[in-house]
Subunit: 436 residues, 2 copies
């Protein structure tokens, strides 16, 4: 299966002018989303430059297989399109690429274009289950040191793609405020727990992986077939209440510390779009134990990692009021993943668990090995001990009300254009007053 | 709000003769489910004796408010009915009780009755999220002793209703086989993990709590309003792979050890049906710390616990072939819950997490203080060290292929009839051969 084809041609240009040059969404990207033009009904679209192309509207202009896929997207979720599988997604990509690069197609397709700033974006799929992995090995070591100084990386880490079930109902689209959670905490030295607003509110830099075709209960996904089940990626911010987490997480793992809100970016960058940016697995040193056979595939080892870079920015309420630019907190990469996306799919289903179309898999926080690449404030401030100084004189250990976190991401490779993921942003809103 | 009304009258009798006498489903119960008469479409029904009453079919025979509720149940899930809230459920209960006890109504209602053994039962709701709590304090102590002998009950247990996110996609109706999961294990003395079928497959005796009306993200449910959000209870068996769990669960909790299958019984016994069986919270000794104020309500302390008894039975393949009766493994009770159902709802949402109609909350394993009341094989066999001897000479530490576990439950109180929950049963099927 070729991972690079004509749709990755770096010389290709679209008749949508804003897609040429420095756009997250050149014609080589074609990410999928759900949008409403002004007050109309939600429908599937593809981002191209500063525009969105209405998939249902252009279905008649596409070849049969691409048109069929586009019609599946003409719905209030993209679940039906993602369920159709990777062949349908590829046919759609090929058809859209030809449509958007063919000057002769402009006249008939242009009426299906909407300026993104005149559209409302929606969560693109109905999420059945949300699983968050812990695949960023540097994050696992950094956090392990804080919670278990004597035992940062547990003995299972290099064998088991550690993950846990997350909360699907509170996954929200980028842009929706995050209400600071109330909860129980046990501050150092306290004899009984306190109740009140979280004091150690944090972001987590992650990528979201969307499940395309599902598997039946009792029928695991072999690693060689894992690619058949992947739809694409978005940016994920898995907001975390560190003080609540520290008190509640034993023995069953994080619960209310995570379930109050998770933000995802609106555009699904398909696995096909990411073909040129695949690289060999960099995070597993040769000296580490080999993956168990069910997690091993030589092609996956050679091409299963993704050269995707993410950047986290902070803007405080004062910075926003003063019109100051975003302050970059860190830069991370998907190359920090100890496990490939294929390994996550296979491990998740190896016990027979059924993944469903629209399920969301989080990578876990993708911190790098350096201070500049730490993907959470917990790590950046060494557990809140070392505040971050901002250019305007403010400082932060954890997030304050009014703070906004913006995460961007892009994929790049020599000889190919750079493609982007858009952004995942949300602002912190104050806790509700709690009525006893 | 009266918890006991005319629908709990122990003298009431139905014109459905099988509902009178020793039935799980007397007219005082009226649990809700989803069924198909022979090959017809699924629809909502209520169990009465050995029959199911088609709710949509009797809607015209009911008063306006009850008829409206019955029509909401005429659907492929009960979500719309449960979302209508407790007033709708109560109106439906009152209307059905009058219909089924009024001899004059028999002629018009009888055509809507179907023998349960000629119907197919379905999972009654679409489950959004599944959360499993850990509210059985004796189970927490028993398991804590096995995993952490020096530290069985962690310091947070008596303050925090411990829970974790479970897997919604693999929750199945009673009767569907449980495929033994494959997975990684690290046997004592091994240097690297093994892969293969689970060797320590276990049941967990739990009750399922169904969410009725949901709450919006960022808007917690105060404990005084928790009852407005409860729909009812079923029996839950949260199958567990103990060897997989022991190796994977640090630091983020159980994952593949639980996500391969969870079984629920088909009938939702409504909170209104359970009114007479409410008692004061027995599992929290006076000397224990008081619940934090957000978890405290004096009425809930006096009436928030439920006198529901559950029994677990085993039948091996040989016992089934020989026609031997089920062997009772244990008897548990919801009185083992350290937290009330209301406390679970309030705690779950206190951080702003939105519960949705049809969400499933598990109580956690409800072991009692005695050996005869241990709700899992892990506890009954002391971690697999003490086999259970069966009457036919077989023995078990954990479950073997072909074994069937059957859980039943009932509520009882002096001066009221006993009502039952039906049964939750499933058999173990062998692991699939794993193709590398």
């Amino acid at each position: 299966m070729a991972r690079v084809d004509f749709t990755h041609d770096p010389a290709a240009r679209s008749w949508v002018e804003s897609a040429n040059g420095h756009s997250d969404f050149p014609v080589q990207n074609l990410p999928l989303g759900l949008f409403s033009p002004s007050s109309e009904r939600p429908r599937g679209g593809v981002a191209i430059g500063t525009k969105i192309l209405d998939l249902g509207a252009v279905a008649p202009l596409l070849p049969q297989d691409a048109g069929d896929a586009a019609r599946l997207a003409d719905s209030s979720t993209l679940n039906n399109l993602l369920a159709a599988g990777k062949d349908a997604l590829r046919a759609l990509r090929h058809g859209l690429f030809r449509l958007l690069t063919d000057p002769a197609a402009e006249k008939s397709a242009r009426p299906a274009l909407y300026p993104v700033d005149q559209c409302k974006l929606h969560l693109p799929v109905h999420i059945g289950d949300y699983t968050d992995f812990y695949a960023g090995i540097h994050h696992a070591v950094n956090v392990g040191k804080l919670f278990r100084p004597d035992n940062p990386l547990l003995p299972n880490y290099k064998y088991v793609p550690i993950g846990y079930h997350g909360r699907a109902s509170s996954v929200r689209l980028s842009g929706e405020d995050v209400v600071r959670p109330n909860g129980q905490t046990m501050p150092p030295g306290a004899e009984t727990p306190l109740f009140g607003p979280c004091k150690r509110l944090d972001h987590e830099l992650e990528m979201a992986i969307w499940v395309g075709r599902g598997n039946a209960l009792g029928h695991p996904i072999p690693i060689k077939q894992a690619a058949d089940h992947m739809a694409g990626l978005s940016i994920l911010n898995d907001w975390s209440a560190r003080d609540i987490q520290a008190w509640e997480y034993q023995p069953l793992g994080p619960f209310l510390a995570k379930s109050f809100h998770s933000s995802v970016s609106p555009w699904i960058v398909t696995m096909d779009a990411l073909g040129p940016y695949r690289i060999a697995q960099p995070a597993r040193p040769e000296s580490d134990p080999a993956p168990l056979p069910y997690l091993f595939d030589s092609d996956d080892q050679q091409n299963g990692a993704l050269n995707v870079t993410m950047e986290v920015y902070l803007s405080t309420a004062r910075m926003q009021a003063d019109g100051q630019p975003l302050h970059r907190l860190s830069q991370g990469s998907m190359t920090a993943m100890y496990w490939t996306v294929a390994q996550l799919f296979t491990h998740h289903s190896v016990n027979g668990c059924n993944l469903s179309t629209g399920d969301l898999l989080g990578t876990g926080t993708l911190s790098g090995a350096t201070d500049e690449s730490k993907g959470s404030l917990l790590e950046l401030t060494r557990g809140g001990k070392v505040p971050i100084r901002l250019p305007n004189g403010e400082s932060r250990t954890f997030l304050e009300d009014g703070d906004e976190i913006v995460i961007t991401a892009f994929a790049e490779a020599s000889g190919f254009v750079r493609i982007g993921f858009g952004e995942c942003r949300a602002r912190i809103a104050p806790s509700p007053q709690w009525e006893l």
